[in-house]
């Protein structure tokens, strides 16, 4: 009954082809085609979502496969429609649509618009295909399509060598994760004989070492795509592309795909305690790790990039906590909370990036140190960004609050059950909340408050850019509350048993728990500190670097914990070292042996040539030879080169050995 | 895994590397040095083969005397610079 869902994925794909073929001749470089296709996807996916919800009577998950098609051998392609994928499709197509409209203004002056829109819609198609894939191979294909598009889009301004390097880095780093994912998928196929996600979820991996290894391998793929530690290094550089592309990667596609992969393989993760604990630890660590690096960045987009890594860490953390609780046989809202946060984050992060894009568009630089005082000049952008920052910090009633609180609550519950280590991660989560609020408002105050510091002449962006901002700002405000109004996000997406709650119960539960106030306090404290330091400037920001420890920390953070340098060094020295050594070995040793044996052959040839010439001579003069019996003549048959003799001797030896071998083995 | 075998393999690798180095070294003196290495490891292999006496002779005669002879030969036939 969901056959029409194919249209959601097909529309951008068709648009991709159309833009390639006709884009050059349309006025906006094919923008109209792109937006029409994205609009189609959006409308159809909304219908689909409504139908899915209607079927499932709010909460009961629907899972249906449509459009099956035999590709190669036993592999059957198709779409898997359930609550999660339907929600993701709505989200992705909506955000891509908004970003596409925004691009009309942002990319208006670029020369290669056709290329931009073609890659843009293909990227969207990749994400939509990933979320709707019914088997892991199809999943992988669209997943890699996204990788390709991210490469092309990050390197969109390829003349800039930073952009080209960033694109290369993004592709390489995610490729490492993808390879591990590929092994994981093959391991699943080898043990279950199928790629089909529904079947795999239902059957689970049989007990044994693979039960732990496979979810870890799948998670490695997610780590690469979602930029989690230790494969996070590509995301901060990925902002070298156009800002709209950053918004696309951070909010709607690419990094969210990693979270989605963990959600898709949730039953497998939840079957293994080792995997769940790894997921929690990576998520929790990445959250605080990335937030710390955001504290010292001066590039407006880089701050947002770190914040994405950190927020994705939250989602992964929530999924891991849920998996751990499931593994122990408890019910958990963690899955729901993570998906909830995914949705909210998508809205406010798209908002933040597009607002940042608007700022960059206006002032022509990324550096926050030369901005300031933009509030009076660009009111809409400023207010929109404020909404985004409040949502990111988790201040009620903005969206980030509800979901972040739910995730931390889950982690705390897991901590109560499994002891100190998880409580520690919960504390890290709360500290992250503090840091998040601090850097979010540091960004806002540095950009919009106070006086202009640099030589810039800002102006408000055109309406085609501000309207999307307004729409997203509205969503950043209400998307969290909407779920509360319908009685909890669990009615939309859930895993395992359904969770029925009413609005009032939910609110009571949230606002009577002391945990809520702890996180809230952390966030407010972060905002307060940022206000004091960067807005009122009561305390100079120099205070952080006044001590040697502070300076050391700053240096460490600005150098991103030296991980980039370490990876780079590894690639340059170890990778290239092996490559050079292999090249040397090939040119000198292997080829040396070949040439050496050629020389040997020549030597033998020369020797035998000499023997032959003189032998032929000898045949002619043979009689004279015999008659005179001259020792001189006999000696003349030899070249006199001892090495030629030896070479001939060795050849003879081999022949004798060969004959003996054949004789001894019974002959042919 | 028997330790004997481990020792043997280690010695064999040194042996092979050493003898390749003998053949491929650019400088004669290096060749002589590698020859000594090869011969000494060979005596180690004899010990593994439980032929201690041969090993001793090898060490005395071969590893001790032969490289020295070679060095003499090299010095006496040196012409200007080495090959």
């Amino acid at each position: 009954m969901f056959e029409y869902a194919l249209l959601i994925v097909a529309a951008p794909l068709v648009a991709f082809l159309l833009i390639i073929i006709f884009g050059r001749w349309t006025r906006q470089g094919g923008a109209a085609i792109a937006i029409a296709a994205l609009g189609t996807s959006f409308i159809v996916s909304v219908i689909l979502f409504a139908q899915v919800l209607g079927l499932g009577a709010l909460g009961a998950p629907v899972s249906e496969e449509v459009f099956k098609y035999n590709w190669i051998g036993p592999i059957e392609f198709g779409l898997l429609i359930d609550n999660v994928s339907a929600l993701m499709m709505v989200l992705v197509s909506f955000l891509c649509l908004i970003i596409g409209i925004y691009s009309l203004g942002y990319m208006a002056e670029d020369k290669s618009k056709t290329r931009y829109y073609a890659e843009f819609v293909l990227f969207t198609a990749g994400m939509l295909g990933t979320v709707s894939a019914n088997n892991f191979l199809q999943f992988l294909i669209f997943w890699e399509t996204m990788g390709l598009c991210s490469y092309l889009l990050i390197g969109f301004w390829y003349e800039k060598s930073e952009a080209a390097s960033a694109a290369k880095k993004a592709f390489m780093v995610t490729r490492v994760g993808d390879m591990l994912l590929l092994i994981g998928i093959m391991a699943i196929f080898a043990s279950l004989g199928t790629f089909n996600i529904v079947e795999i979820q239902a059957r689970g991996i049989p007990a044994g070492a693979l039960m732990h290894v496979i979810p870890l391998l799948l998670f490695a793929g997610a780590v690469g795509k979602s930029a989690q530690f230790p494969l996070h290094i590509w995301l901060p550089d990925a902002m070298e592309g156009p800002t709209t592309v950053s918004a696309l990667i951070h909010a709607a596609t690419m990094v969210k795909a990693g979270v989605f992969l963990v959600a898709r393989s949730f039953p497998l993760v939840a079957a293994s305690d080792i995997a769940s604990i790894t997921v929690i630890c990576i998520g929790g660590f990445t959250a605080i790790f990335a937030a710390s690096m955001a504290l010292v960045a001066f590039d407006i987009k880089r701050v947002l990039a770190y914040s994405t890594i950190s927020q994705i860490g939250y989602m992964i953390l929530g999924l891991g906590a849920a998996a751990l609780l499931f593994e122990a046989g408890h019910a958990s809202h963690g899955f729901t909370a993570s998906m909830y946060h995914l949705m909210n984050h998508a809205f406010f992060k798209a908002l933040l990036f597009l607002a940042a894009g608007s700022v960059i568009h206006a002032v022509g630089t990324n550096d926050m140190r030369v901005m300031g005082g933009l509030h009076s000049k660009m009111k809409i952008t400023s207010i929109a960004m404020l909404f985004g920052a409040l949502a990111l910090s988790g201040i009620p009633p903005f969206s980030g609050f509800w979901s972040k609180d739910a995730i931390l609550h889950e982690v705390f519950v897991a901590g109560e059950m499994y002891g100190a280590i998880f409580t520690f991660i919960w504390v890290a989560g709360v500290i992250t909340a503090f840091l998040t609020a601090f850097y979010a408002f540091r960004l806002w105050f540095m950009t919009f408050a106070g006086k202009t510091r640099g030589d810039i002449h800002p102006h408000e962006s055109p309406r085609v850019m501000t309207y999307p901002l307004i729409a997203l700002a509205v969503f950043a405000l209400i998307s969290g509350m909407l779920a509360v109004v319908i009685g909890g996000f669990g009615h939309l997406v859930t895993f395992g048993g359904t969770v029925h709650e009413g609005t009032m119960e939910l609110l009571t539960e949230i606002f009577t728990s002391p945990l809520t106030y702890i996180t809230l306090f952390a966030a407010v404290a972060g905002i307060g500190l940022a206000y004091i330091v960067y807005c009122k400037q009561r305390v100079s920001s120099e205070i952080f670097v006044s001590t040697s420890v502070g300076r050391g920390m700053q240096k460490l953070l600005q150098n991103r914990y030296y991980l980039d340098a370490a990876y780079r060094g590894f690639a340059l020295h170890v990778g290239m070292g092996i490559a050079r050594a292999a090249d040397w070995f090939d040119r000198n040793v292997i080829d040396g042996v070949v040439n050496g044996s050629a020389k040997l052959g020549l030597l033998v040839a020369r020797g035998s040539d000499a023997v032959d010439r003189k032998g032929v001579d000898g045949a002619v003069d043979g009689i004279a030879y015999v008659v005179t019996g001259s020792s001189n003549r006999a000696r003349a048959r030899q070249t006199g080169q001892i090495q030629a003799y030896i070479a001939a001797m060795v050849m003879g030896m081999f022949v004798v050995a060969l004959i003996m071998l054949i004789y001894l083995s019974g002959g042919w | 895994m028997e330790w004997d075998l481990v020792w043997f393999l280690a010695l064999a690798i040194i042996e092979i590397v050493g003898s390749v180095a003998v053949v491929l070294s650019r400088k004669l003196v290096h060749s002589a040095f590698w020859l000594a290495v090869t011969l000494i490891t060979m005596s180690g292999i004899y010990i593994l083969l439980k032929s201690e006496f041969v090993a001793l002779i090898q060490l005395l005669v071969y590893a001790g005397a032969v490289p020295i002879l070679f060095l003499f030969g090299i010095v006496l036939t040196r012409r200007g610079e080495e090959e």
Binding site: W71, I72, G73, L137, L140, I141, F142, E144, T145, L148, Y151, L152, G155, Y158, E159, S161, A163, A164, S165, A167, K168, F171, M172, R175, V176, M179, L182, I183, M186, A187, F189, A190, S191, A571, G575, M576, I578, A579, R580, A582, D583, D586, I590, D591, V594, A598, G601, S665, G666, W668 | -
Partner: protein, 511 residues
């Protein structure tokens, strides 16, 4: 009698060769292209005939399992026959041969130095390679196998680069040594063939061997099968080429003219792979079961070692040459797995690699024509002045590194799947990490090259470069289209290959 389509595939290029060379410089390209086109149409008809019914299953009937079968007695007293036929293994390769020959001809449209001989020799090479793929008599097979060397030698030695004499001699001698050892194997087979034929007469008829291997895999004693396997493996391995018998390839490629490289990498290497599937696996199944690890080790070493070497190359053509070695490693690995997916993937990889590497070598030639150099450090930012070139380069590189949606992925994935199954069976699953490392290195060197060649700032010296001319763009476009087509929709080729892989798997009885 059936329409002798395969004999025509041999006769048409032969006439073409003679006419092209005799016709002189003026008409050379037109005559040769027309004859190549006829061959391509013939082979297309052949392949299309194949598609509707998946007939290739190893039927017991000796003539029924090969399509377009022809058999004429030649020297009955020696057991020599003229036998040709195609099956799921050879049909895609025959098609590929005709395709690449035509593309090579079009690509070299503007050749000015002795064009009639140049085009004639291309046709002759195509003929010889087709002969290798279709002949089902070991002696005939060997004749064609050797026949390939001669025109190729002249090709490199006459139209090659500055170091052509060294390269051509090295190519000839090296591959010839491999052939001689293979010839020993063929004679050994022949001498022992009296034991299993019905009338006790010795024969070169390959079909009889294939049948005997099916009815009784031990039709040759193990003490004979194993040395035979090794002899054939050496012969095919040099051709393929597998590390450490590969050093003729980079030299030959760097010196050969572009059309020569296309045929060398696209087709000549496939002869080795074809031999492995046809003879090593098909005739010596028991030895394969015993020595599959040899194939696997050589395959894995080729994949990883050559990939690392690519990372250190500065000459674009040399890089592509080494990447060929790396990718042909997948063919060996696929054969070693003895699983359906692995074998089908290996055969398909040969087909795909033929398309991809042809594109890459043509691009290397084009960049040399356009800028005068193939040295990667001297190039930069070409995307700005050569957009067509850059687009095809990106597609070719990504196809080669196994990007889903392009054909390289399908075959490599199948090979990995087979490998995983195989190694999983013997509890060595960890080993699969090694070729995957090769994949990551592959991605690294392609991306790095792409970065250095097309991206970044345009160098001052390259400002006036023009994009690829039309006669080079046409074959590139056709091949790129096929790369994408078979990436998205591999069924036509895989459907032909798969039954053959099933047959081989059944024969090997592997896991």
């Amino acid at each position: 009698m059936e329409f002798p389509i395969l004999s025509l595939l041999l006769i048409v290029p032969l006439i073409g060769t003679v006419l092209t060379i005799a016709g002189g410089k003026r008409y050379a390209k037109w005559v040769s292209v027309i004859f190549a086109l006829i061959s391509l149409i013939l082979s297309t008809v052949l392949v299309l005939h194949f598609l509707p019914d998946s007939f290739i299953a190893f039927a017991p009937d000796s003539t029924g399992r090969f399509f377009a079968f022809e058999m004429y007695s030649w020297a009955p007293s020696l057991g020599l026959n003229y036998i040709v036929g195609v099956d799921g293994l050879s049909a895609p390769l025959v098609f590929l041969t005709q395709l690449l020959v035509l593309m090579g001809l079009i690509y070299s449209w503007k050749k000015e130095e002795r064009p009639h001989q140049f085009f004639g020799l291309i046709l002759l090479i195509g003929l010889a390679i087709t002969g290798v793929f279709i002949s089902l008599d070991l002696f005939l097979f060997f004749i064609f196998w050797e026949l390939v060397l001669i025109p190729m030698y002249f090709f490199i030695a006459i139209w090659g680069g500055p170091n052509r004499h060294y390269a051509s001699i090295k190519f000839l001698v090296y591959t010839h040594v491999g052939s001689v050892i293979m010839l020993l194997g063929i004679f050994a087979l022949y001498l022992s063939s009296g034991d299993f034929t019905a009338d006790g007469a010795r024969t070169f008829n390959m079909i009889l061997y294939l049948e005997a291997a099916q009815t009784d895999p031990l039709f040759l004693q193990m003490s004979l099968q194993i040395p035979l396997f090794i002899a054939f493996l050496f012969g095919f391995g040099v051709k393929m080429p597998m590390v450490p018998f590969h050093t003729w390839l980079p030299d030959a490629h760097v010196e050969a003219p572009t059309a020569g490289s296309v045929i060398l990498a696209g087709l000549l290497l496939k002869m080795g792979g074809y031999g492995i599937f046809r003879i090593s696996l098909g005739i010596l199944p028991e030895a394969t079961k015993e020595l599959w690890w040899l194939l696997a080790v050589f395959g894995i070493v080729s994949i990883v070692y050559a990939a690392f070497i690519c990372l250190a190359q500065t000459d674009l053509k040399r890089l592509v040459a080494y990447s060929s070695i790396s990718h042909m490693g997948f063919v060996l690995l696929g054969a070693a797995t003895m699983t359906e997916a692995g074998i089908a993937g290996g055969i398909f990889q040969m087909f795909n690699h033929g398309l991809i590497t042809a594109v890459l070598f043509m691009l290397a030639g084009s960049v040399k024509h356009a800028t005068g150099t193939r040295e990667i450090p001297q190039l930069s930012g070409l995307a700005k002045v050569m957009p067509k070139f850059s687009l095809i380069l990106i597609i070719g590189f990504f196809a080669s590194m196994g990007m889903p949606g392009l054909n390289g992925f399908v075959s490599e994935f199948l090979v990995f799947l087979g490998t995983y199954k195989m190694f999983n069976m013997i509890e060595m699953g960890k080993l699969i990490i090694i070729p995957l490392l090769g994949i990551i290195v592959t991605a690294a060197y392609y991306l790095w090259t792409l970065h250095r060649v097309t991206l970044g700032e345009l160098k001052e010296s390259l400002k006036n470069v023009v994009d690829i001319p039309r006669h080079e763009a046409i074959p590139l476009a056709i091949l790129t289209f096929m790369i994408i087509l078979f990436g998205l929709y591999p069924t036509p080729v895989l459907g032909v290959i798969w039954p053959h892989a099933q047959g081989l798997t059944g024969l090997l009885g592997g896991p």
